[in-house]
Amino acid sequence: MLVTWFWLGAIAMAIGTVALAYGFRLVPRRNWRRYSILVAVPAIAVGAYILLALEVGVLDTQAGEPLFSMRYVDWLLTTPLHVLYLGLLAGATLGAINRSLVLMALTILFGFAGAYVVGPMKWLLFAAGSVAFVGVIYYAYTEFDRAVRTKDGRTVALFWKLRAFLVILWLVYPAIWIVSPFGLGLMNVETAALVLSYLDVVAKVGFGFIALSGQLSTTEIGTETETAAD
C-alpha cells in the first residue's frame, strides 16, 4: 500500500506538472522565470515520488522506523522554491528572501534530524524546526507583506491568498509529524504516507494553480496599469 500511495502521488504530481507547464502558454514571456518556479516544484516532486515508490533512500531511524529521506530531499528543494516565489511576488528584498529561504531549509533539516533521532533530542530538533518555520511565517507576514503593499490590489490579494494557503497547509505537516511514527506514533507509516502524499499534491499543484490564475489576472491588470501609468 505504501508504494501505491507513492505511485499515486507521482502520477498526480506528473499530471499537475504537465498542466502547470501548459501555463507557460498563458503567462507572458517576461513572467516565465518566476512562473518556472511553479512548474519546477511539482516536477521535482515527481522525481522524489518515483524514488519513494522505488524505495530508494529509505533509512532506518534510531527507533527502527523507516525514514523516507527522498521526501525530505523533495521538501528541502521545493519549500524554499515556494518561499522564493512568494518573496518574488511580493517584491521583497533579496536579504529578506535569502533569510527566509535559509530558515525554510533549516525547518526541513531539523524535521529530518528530529525524525531520525530518538528521545528528547527528537523534540528539541522538532522545536528548532518549528522556530525556523515560525521565522519563515514571520518574514512572510512582515517584510514580504510590507513589500507587497506597494503593489497593485490584485497582486496583494494573490499574495495574501498564497501566503494563507502555504501557512495553513504547511502547518499540517508538523501536525502529521507529531502523530507519525517519528513522533507519537498514533498514525502508522502507511496512513502517514497517504496523508502526506495528498497534502504534497495539494500544496504543490494547488499552489501552482492558484498562482497561475492569480498571475494571469495580475498580468492583465499589470499591463493595463502599466499602459495607464505610461
Binding site: 490590489g153 495574501w160 491568498k161 494557503f165 498514525m187 496523508v195 489576472s217
Partner: protein, 768 residues
C-alpha cells in the same frame, strides 16, 4: 449573532471574516478530532476487549483441549494396562503389543512411547521405542515417590521428565497392571508438542504450561522449561478461571487452569500485534482527520481567502469611495454574490456620483447664495455709510434750511436754500422752501405794492368823496325841480285818461253793431249758397233727364227700326204662307188626281193650307200690332222731343238763377268782409284805447312814483352828502392805515424791494 451588542463571539472574531471562517473551520476540526478520538477510543476499547476475550477463551479452550488430551492419554494407558497381554506378563508378547500399538498409531496424539515397566525396579521391561530396548533401566525422577503416591489402580501422570538418556522431556502416564501390582504400563507424551499444536499457538502468542509453583512445564522456548515463570502474580491472582492477568504495554498474559492436572495454561501475546487492528483503525482515523483538515484548510484558503480578499478589496474601494475617490476600479471577474456585490457597489457609485453632482450643485448654489449674501451685506454696509453720509448731508441741509427759514422768520426773505441734495425728499423740501420763500416774497412784495395802491386809492377816494358831496348837493336841487314837473305831468295825464275812456266806449258800440251786420250777411251768404247748390242740383237733374230722354228717343228709334225689320220678316212670312198656300193647293190638286191613294196626301195639304192661313192671319195680326207700336213710338218720340226742349229751357232758366245767386253770394261776402274789417278796426281801436289808457295809467303811476322818488332822491342826496362826509373821513383813516402798513412792511426785506416801494412812494407822492 446578528445583534452586535449581544454577540456571543469575541470582538476579534466578530470583526474579521477570516477569523470567523477560521473559527468555523477550527470548530469543525475540533469537533472532528474530538469525535475521532471518541470513536478511536470506543473502537480501541471494543477491539481490546474483543482481543482479551478472544485470548481468554482461547487459553481456556487450550486448557480444555489439554485436559481432554490428558484424559485420553489416561484412559488409553489404563486400557492398555488392563489388556490380557499385559496381565499375562509375557514380555515378548508385551513387546509386540507395544510395538504394534505405536506402529498402528493406536496411541493418542503426541504419545511418543508406550512402555511396560517394572514398578519395583523402575525399569522398562518392554517398550515401543526400539532405542530404549528391553530391560533397560530407566531413570524416572521421583518415580518411587510417584508410585507410592498413586493408587494402585489409578493412572499417574507426571510432570515432564527425562526418560533415559533422552533430552526430550515428556510427561509419563503410568497405569498399574492389575495382576501382580509389580508392573505398570507407561505412556510418554510430548506435552510441548501437544501445546504447540493448539489453536492458540499462533505466531504472536506463546502458550506455556506451568504447575502451581509457576514452574514452566512446557514453553515454546525449551530452555525455559523447568525454570520459574517470570510472571509473579500467577500464583497469587489466579482464581481458578481463565483470566487476563497482565495487560501491560508490551504483553498480554492469560491464564487458565486444567482439570486433569494441577497445571495452568499461560498464553502470552504481544500487545502491539494483538491490538494491531485497533492501531490501524486509529491510524486511519487520524489520517482521515488530517485529510479533512487539509481539505478544510483548502476550502478556507481558496474560498475564504478569495472572499476575504474580494471583500477587503471591495472594502478598500468603498473606503476610497468614502474618502471621495469615485474613480476606483470596481470590476470583478467573479459572477457569484461577491461579483453581484461589486456590481451593486458600482451601481451605488453611479447613484453616489449623481447625488454628489446634485450636492455639489446645491453647494455651489449655496456658495453663490452666501456670496450674494456677502455682497448684500457689503451693500448694506455701503448703504449704511451712504445713509450716514445722507444723514450728514440731511443734517447739513437741515441746518442750512433752518438758517434760511430763521432768516425768513426774522423777515428776510432774500435768503434761498440750495436744494441740490442726493435725497429727493430733502431736495423737494428745499425746493418747496424756496418756492414758499418765493411765494412769500412775492406775497410780501405784492402786499407792499397793494398797500401802496390802497394808500393811493384811499387818498383818491377821499378826494372823490369830496367831489361827490358837491355833486350830490346839486342833485338835491335838481330833484326838487323834477318833482314839481312830475306833479304837473300827472294831472295832465289824468285828463287824457278820462277822454280815452269815452273813446273806448264808442268804439265798443260800433264794434257790436258791425258784428250784428256781419252776422246777417253771413246768413245771407249761407242762404245764397244753399240756393246755388239746389240750382246746380236741379241743373244736374235736368241734364240727366235730357240725356235719359235722348237715350229713350234713341231706343225708340232703334225699336222702330227693329219693328221695321220684323215687318219685313212678317212680309216674308206672308209671302212664304202664300207660296205654302199655293203648294197646298197644288198638293190638293195632285191629291185629287192621285185619287184614293192620295186621300192621306190631300189631308196633309189641307192641314198645311189651314196652317198657312192661320200663319197669314197671325202675320197680319203682327203687322197690325207693329204698325200700332210704330205709331205709338213716333208719338212718344215727339213727346220726348218736346220734353227735352222744355228741359233745355228749364235748365237755362236755372242757370240764370244760379248766376244771380252767385252774384248775391259775392255781394254778401263782400259785405261780410267789410263788416269784418269794421269789426277788426273797431276792436283794434278799442284795444288801442285800452292800451293808451293803460299807458296813461302807467304814466300816471310813473309820474306819481317819480314824484315820490324825487322826494326820496332828495332825501337820499341829503343822506349821501352825509355819507360822503363819513366816506371822506374813512378814506382819510384808510390812508393813515395804509401809511402805517407801509411802514410795517418796510421791515420785510424782499428782492426788488427798494425800487418797488420807491415807485409806490413816488406814485403816491406824485399824486399828492
Amino acid at each position: 449573532m446578528t445583534d452586535r451588542n449581544r454577540s456571543l463571539l469575541p470582538g476579534i472574531i466578530e470583526r474579521s471574516y477570516a477569523a470567523r471562517l477560521g473559527m468555523a473551520l477550527a470548530f469543525a476540526i475540533v469537533v472532528m478530532v474530538v469525535f475521532g478520538l471518541v470513536i478511536s477510543m470506543q473502537a480501541s476499547a471494543t477491539l481490546e476487549e474483543d482481543v482479551e476475550q478472544e485470548l481468554t477463551s482461547a487459553t481456556q479452550s487450550e486448557a480444555a483441549a489439554l485436559d481432554s488430551w490428558l484424559l485420553q492419554v489416561d484412559r488409553s494407558v489404563s486400557a492398555t494396562a488392563t489388556t490380557e497381554v499385559m496381565v499375562n506378563g509375557e514380555i515378548g508378547a508385551i513387546q509386540d503389543r507395544l510395538t504394534s500399538l505405536a506402529e498402528r498409531d493406536q496411541l493418542p496424539e503426541n504419545v511418543v512411547g508406550a512402555h511396560y515397566i517394572d514398578t519395583e525396579t523402575g525399569t522398562i521391561a518392554a517398550s515401543s521405542d526400539e532405542s530404549i530396548g528391553t530391560n533397560e533401566e530407566i531413570e524416572i525422577a521421583g518415580f518411587a515417590e510417584m508410585m507410592t503416591e498413586t493408587d494402585e489402580h489409578e493412572t499417574l501422570i507426571t510432570e515432564p521428565v527425562n526418560i533415559g538418556d533422552s533430552d526430550q522431556q515428556v510427561i509419563a502416564a503410568i497405569s498399574p497392571v492389575d495382576a501382580d501390582g509389580e508392573h505398570a504400563v507407561m505412556y510418554t507424551a510430548d506435552l510441548q508438542a501437544q501445546v504447540n499444536q493448539s489453536t492458540l499457538s499462533r505466531e504472536e502468542t506463546e502458550t506455556a504450561i506451568t504447575n502451581t509453583d509457576g514452574e514452566y512445564l512446557a514453553h515454546p522456548n525449551q530452555s525455559l522449561v523447568g525454570s520459574s515463570s517470570s510472571i509473579g502474580e500467577l500464583r497469587e491472582s489466579y482464581d481458578g478461571t481463565a483470566t487476563l492477568l497482565d495487560d501491560s504495554d508490551e504483553t498480554l498474559v492469560t491464564v487458565a487452569g486444567l482439570e486433569q492436572m494441577d497445571w495452568r495454561v499461560v498464553s502470552t501475546t504481544d500487545s502491539a500485534t494483538a491490538f494491531a487492528l485497533s492501531d490501524q483503525i486509529n491510524s486511519n482515523l487520524i489520517g482521515l482527520l488530517f485529510l479533512a483538515v487539509i481539505n478544510l484548510g483548502l476550502v478556507g484558503v481558496t474560498v475564504g481567502a478569495n472572499t476575504i480578499t474580494s471583500l477587503r478589496r471591495l472594502s478598500g474601494r468603498a473606503e476610497e469611495m468614502a474618502a471621495g475617490d469615485l474613480e476606483v476600479d470596481l470590476e470583478s471577474s467573479r459572477t457569484d454574490e461577491i461579483g453581484a456585490l461589486y456590481s451593486s457597489f458600482d451601481r451605488m457609485r453611479t447613484s453616489l456620483r449623481e447625488q454628489i453632482t446634485t450636492a455639489e450643485k446645491a453647494r455651489e448654489e449655496a456658495e453663490a447664495a452666501s456670496q450674494e449674501a456677502q455682497q448684500a451685506r457689503q451693500e448694506a454696509i455701503k448703504e449704511q455709510e451712504a445713509t450716514a453720509e445722507v444723514n450728514e448731508e440731511l443734517q447739513r441741509k437741515a441746518e442750512e434750511y433752518r438758517s434760511v427759514l430763521s432768516a425768513a422768520a426774522r423777515g428776510d426773505f432774500t435768503g434761498r436754500v440750495s436744494p441740490d441734495s442726493s435725497n429727493q425728499s430733502m431736495q423737494a423740501i428745499g425746493e418747496e422752501i424756496n418756492t414758499t420763500l418765493d411765494a412769500l416774497e412775492e406775497t410780501i412784495a405784492m402786499t407792499k405794492s397793494f398797500t401802496a395802491d390802497v394808500k393811493q386809492a384811499s387818498e383818491a377816494a377821499e378826494s372823490n368823496a369830496r367831489a361827490v358831496r358837491s355833486a350830490s348837493e346839486s342833485v338835491r336841487k335838481s330833484t326838487a325841480e323834477i318833482r314839481a314837473d312830475a306833479t304837473t305831468q300827472r294831472e295832465q295825464l289824468e285828463q287824457a285818461a278820462a277822454q280815452m275812456q269815452s273813446l273806448s266806449a264808442t268804439a265798443e258800440e260800433v264794434a257790436s253793431s258791425a258784428e250784428e251786420v256781419a252776422e246777417t250777411s253771413t246768413q245771407a251768404s249761407e242762404a245764397g249758397e244753399t240756393g246755388r247748390k239746389a240750382a246746380e242740383k236741379a241743373i244736374a237733374e235736368m241734364k240727366a233727364i235730357e240725356s235719359e230722354t235722348d237715350d229713350t228717343v234713341e231706343e225708340i228709334t232703334t225699336l222702330a227700326e227693329d219693328l221695321q225689320a220684323i215687318g219685313n220678316i212678317v212680309d216674308l212670312i206672308t209671302e212664304i204662307v202664300d207660296q205654302t198656300n199655293m203648294l197646298a193647293l197644288n198638293a190638293s190638286i195632285e191629291a185629287a188626281r192621285a185619287d184614293a191613294s192620295g186621300d192621306g196626301f190631300a189631308v196633309v195639304a189641307d192641314e198645311i193650307k189651314n196652317l198657312a192661313e192661320e200663319t197669314r192671319d197671325a202675320a197680319a195680326d203682327i203687322e197690325s200690332r207693329i204698325e200700332r207700336i210704330q205709331n205709338q213710338a213716333s208719338e212718344t218720340v215727339k213727346t220726348m222731343e218736346s220734353t227735352s226742349d222744355r228741359v233745355s229751357s228749364g235748365t237755362e232758366t236755372v242757370e240764370d238763377a244760379i248766376d244771380s245767386l252767385e252774384q248775391i253770394l259775392k255781394l254778401a261776402e263782400e259785405v261780410d268782409g267789410g263788416m269784418q274789417e269794421i269789426d277788426t278796426a273797431t276792436g283794434e281801436q278799442a284795444r288801442t284805447a285800452q292800451d293808451v289808457m293803460m299807458v296813461i295809467d302807467e304814466l300816471n303811476d310813473l309820474s306819481q312814483e317819480t314824484e315820490s322818488e324825487t322826494e326820496r332822491v332828495a332825501d337820499a342826496a341829503a343822506e349821501q352828502t352825509e355819507s360822503i362826509d363819513s366816506v371822506a373821513d374813512a378814506a382819510g383813516d384808510l390812508n393813515d392805515s395804509a401809511v402805517a402798513l407801509v411802514e410795517l412792511l418796510e421791515q420785510f426785506t424782499v428782492n426788488g424791494d427798494s425800487h418797488a416801494i420807491e415807485k409806490t412812494i413816488q406814485v403816491t407822492g406824485g399824486e399828492q
